[in-house]
C-alpha cells in the first residue's frame, strides 16, 4: 500500500509531519513520570508542570478491542465501512476506521493484531484530499509497510 504524504491532515493537532514528508500520529509524554497522553496535552495532570511534556509518536501496532460495520449513508463514507477501537501497547485506546479487510465480517476478529497506516479519508469542500490514520489487520513479517 502506497501511503499518501500529501493532503490536508484531518486535524493537525493529532499528527506530526517528518522532514521526508511522512506523517505520524503523536501524543504527549510527561518528561517526569513518562505518562503518555492522546490527544496531546501541554501539562501532565499528575506532575502539573506547564510544558513539562514532550511530543511522542504513538505505537503503530495494537490489538482490536471491538468493531462494527456501518451501513448509515449519512456519515460521508461509502457504505459499508468498518470502525472500532484499537488498544496500543502504551495503554492508549484509539478510535479508527479500518481498511484492507473486506469482507469485514470475516476478516475482523476481536483481539487480533492491527497496524496503523496513513490513508485517504475524504475530499473536503475545497476539493482537497484529507488524510488520516487508519488501521488494518497486521500483515505479519517485517511490518515495513506500516507507517
Amino acid at each position: 500500500m502506497n501511503q499518501p504524504t500529501k493532503g490536508v491532515l484531518v486535524d493537525s493537532k493529532f499528527f506530526a509531519r517528518r522532514p521526508d514528508g511522512t506523517v505520524e500520529v503523536v501524543g504527549s509524554r510527561c518528561k517526569k513520570c513518562g505518562r503518555v497522553y492522546f490527544p496531546r496535552k501541554r501539562v501532565c495532570v499528575d506532575c502539573l508542570e506547564w510544558n513539562g511534556v514532550e511530543e511522542v509518536p504513538l505505537s503503530k501496532k495494537g490489538k482490536l478491542v471491538s468493531y462494527s460495520i456501518s451501513r448509515d449513508p449519512m456519515r460521508g463514507f461509502p457504505i459499508p465501512y468498518a470502525f472500532g477501537y484499537v488498544m496500543l501497547p502504551e495503554g492508549i485506546m484509539l478510535y479508527s476506521l479500518f481498511t484492507d479487510c473486506e469482507p469485514y465480517e470475516e476478516k475482523l476478529k476481536i483481539g487480533m493484531d492491527m497496524e496503523m497506516v496513513i490513508d485517504y479519508l475524504m475530499t473536503d469542500r475545497w476539493e482537497n484530499d484529507v488524510i488520516c490514520y487508519k488501521f488494518r489487520p497486521a500483515q505479519g513479517g517485517s511490518g515495513s509497510q506500516a507507517a
Binding site: V10, D11, K13, F14, P39, V65, S66, Y67, S68, I69, S70, R71, D72, M74, R75, G76, F77, P80, Y81, F83, G84, Y85, M87, G91, I92, M93, Y95, S96, L97, Y104, E105, I110, L121, M122, C132
Partner: protein, 388 residues
C-alpha cells in the same frame, strides 16, 4: 439531608409532533405537572430546563420562553444542555436547590424538538451522540456504532446471542403498546427485529430508538412544605450523577453507570434487590443488557439471559422500561429523563393501567448521555419510593 418529595408530574405524548413547537409542548407538560401537584405557577420558586437545544426551532433562553407560556417567570431559570442526560440533570439540580435550603418548591422541565422540516435539521442530527468531533466525528463515528462495538465484545466474551439482544426490542415495544404516550405503540416480533434494516453490525433499525419530540415536567418540594400541595407524593431517596473517566480500559460505556448506581444505592441505603421497576437508558437494545449488569440486577455477563428468561418483564424480578423505554416510548433528548421520572412516579402511585407493575414500592431511573473516547459523558440515576 433534607427529605425531598415529587408532588407533580406531567408529560406530552412522545413522537413526531408536527403541530407542536417547544412552547406548545412545554405548556402541556407544565400544565399537567402543576395540575397534578395542585400548584399554581406562582408557587414555583426556582426552575431548571433540560434541553440539548439542537434543533433550528429551539431558541436561546428556551427555559425562560417555554416556562413563560405557563406563567412561570421572574424566578431563577437555568438551562441545562448535557446531551441525552440534560433532563435528568435538570431534575437533579432542582433537588440540589431544595437541598440547599434556599428554596422550598422547584420545577424541572425537559423539552426537545427534533423533528422539523427545517433544512438545517439533517446537519444538526449528525451531531447527535456528542462525540469528540474532530477525533471521532470525522471518522464515521455514530451512536449505534458505540453499542454495536460493546455488543460484539459482550457476545465474544460471554456468549450473548443476537436473539437475546433483539428480545429487548420485543419486550419494550410490547410495553410501549400499553402506553398511550409512547412514540411507537405496536408490538414487534423477534423476526421483525432480526430482519429489519441493518444499521451498524450487529444492530438493525429496530434495535435503535426513534428520534422524537416531547416534553416532560416534574414538581418537587421539601417534605416539610408538601402539605401546601394535593398531588400524591413520592419520596426521592437518591439523586446521583457522574461523568466519564475515559480510562482507555476497554470497558466500553459501562463504568460511568456502575459508579452512578453505586452512589445512588449508597445514598438510598438500598441495593439492586430492592428495586421493583427501573426506567433505563435503552437508546439501543444492547445498551439495556449492559445496564442490567451495571445496575446490579444480574451478574456480569448474564444480561442476555436476564432478558431471555423474562426477568426484565412486567411481573419479572425487575420490570425494566415498563413505559416502553427509549426504544418505544421515544427519545426526545432533554425530555427523556423527566419522562422516566413520570413513569416511575405513576407506577409507584399505581396509576399505570395495563402496564402497572403490581405492588411497586421502589423505582429507579437511569439516564445516560454522550460518548467520549469509549465512555459515557453523563449518567444520572434517581431512586424513588412510594410513601406508606
Amino acid at each position: 439531608m433534607r427529605e425531598v418529595w415529587i408532588v407533580g408530574v406531567g408529560m406530552t405524548r412522545f413522537g413526531r409532533l408536527s403541530e407542536y413547537g417547544v412552547r406548545e409542548m412545554a405548556e402541556e407538560a407544565v400544565f399537567d405537572a402543576l395540575k397534578d401537584a395542585g400548584a399554581k405557577p406562582s408557587d414555583m420558586e426556582i426552575a431548571y430546563c433540560g434541553t440539548e437545544a439542537m434543533g433550528p426551532d429551539t431558541p436561546m433562553l428556551v427555559g425562560q420562553i417555554a416556562l413563560e407560556q405557563m406563567g412561570i417567570k421572574g424566578i431563577p431559570i437555568t438551562n441545562i444542555a448535557n446531551a441525552c442526560g440534560s433532563g435528568s440533570n435538570a431534575v437533579r439540580e432542582a433537588w440540589l436547590a431544595l437541598q440547599s435550603g434556599l428554596y422550598d418548591v422547584a420545577i424541572a422541565l425537559g423539552v426537545e424538538k427534533l423533528t422539523s422540516p427545517h433544512p438545517d435539521m439533517f446537519q444538526l442530527l449528525s451531531r447527535l451522540g456528542g462525540a469528540d468531533l474532530m477525533l471521532e466525528g470525522c471518522m464515521g463515528f455514530f451512536p449505534p456504532g458505540v453499542f454495536s462495538m460493546a455488543a460484539l465484545k459482550h457476545m465474544e466474551l460471554y456468549g450473548t446471542t443476537r436473539e437475546q439482544i433483539a428480545r429487548v426490542a420485543v419486550k419494550n415495544n410490547y410495553n410501549g403498546s400499553l402506553n398511550p404516550k409512547a412514540h411507537y405503540q405496536k408490538p414487534v416480533t423477534l423476526e421483525d427485529v432480526l430482519n429489519s434494516r441493518p444499521v451498524s453490525y450487529p444492530l438493525n433499525v429496530l434495535d435503535c430508538c426513534p428520534i422524537s419530540d416531547g416534553a416532560a415536567a416534574v414538581v418537587l418540594c421539601g417534605a416539610d412544605v408538601a402539605k401546601r400541595f394535593t398531588g400524591t407524593p413520592v419520596r426521592m431517596r437518591a439523586a446521583a450523577q457522574k461523568s466519564g473517566t475515559y480510562k482507555d480500559d476497554m470497558d466500553l460505556n459501562a463504568d460511568t453507570t456502575r459508579r452512578a448506581a453505586k452512589e445512588a444505592y449508597e445514598m438510598a441505603g438500598l441495593g439492586p434487590e430492592d428495586i421493583d421497576l427501573a426506567e433505563v437508558h435503552d437508546c439501543f437494545t444492547f445498551a439495556e443488557i449492559q445496564h442490567y449488569e451495571d445496575l446490579g440486577f444480574c451478574k456480569h455477563g448474564e444480561g442476555g439471559r436476564f432478558v431471555e428468561e423474562g426477568h426484565a418483564n412486567i411481573g419479572g424480578k425487575v420490570a425494566v422500561n415498563s413505559s416502553g423505554g427509549l426504544l418505544a416510548k421515544g427519545h426526545p433528548l432533554g425530555a427523556t429523563g423527566p419522562g422516566q421520572v413520570n413513569e416511575v412516579v405513576e407506577q409507584l402511585r399505581g396509576k399505570c393501567g395495563k402496564r402497572q407493575v403490581a405492588g411497586a414500592r421502589i423505582g429507579m431511573t437511569h439516564n445516560g448521555g454522550g460518548f467520549r473516547h469509549g465512555d459515557t459523558g453523563i449518567v444520572v440515576s434517581f431512586i424513588l419510593e412510594k410513601l406508606k
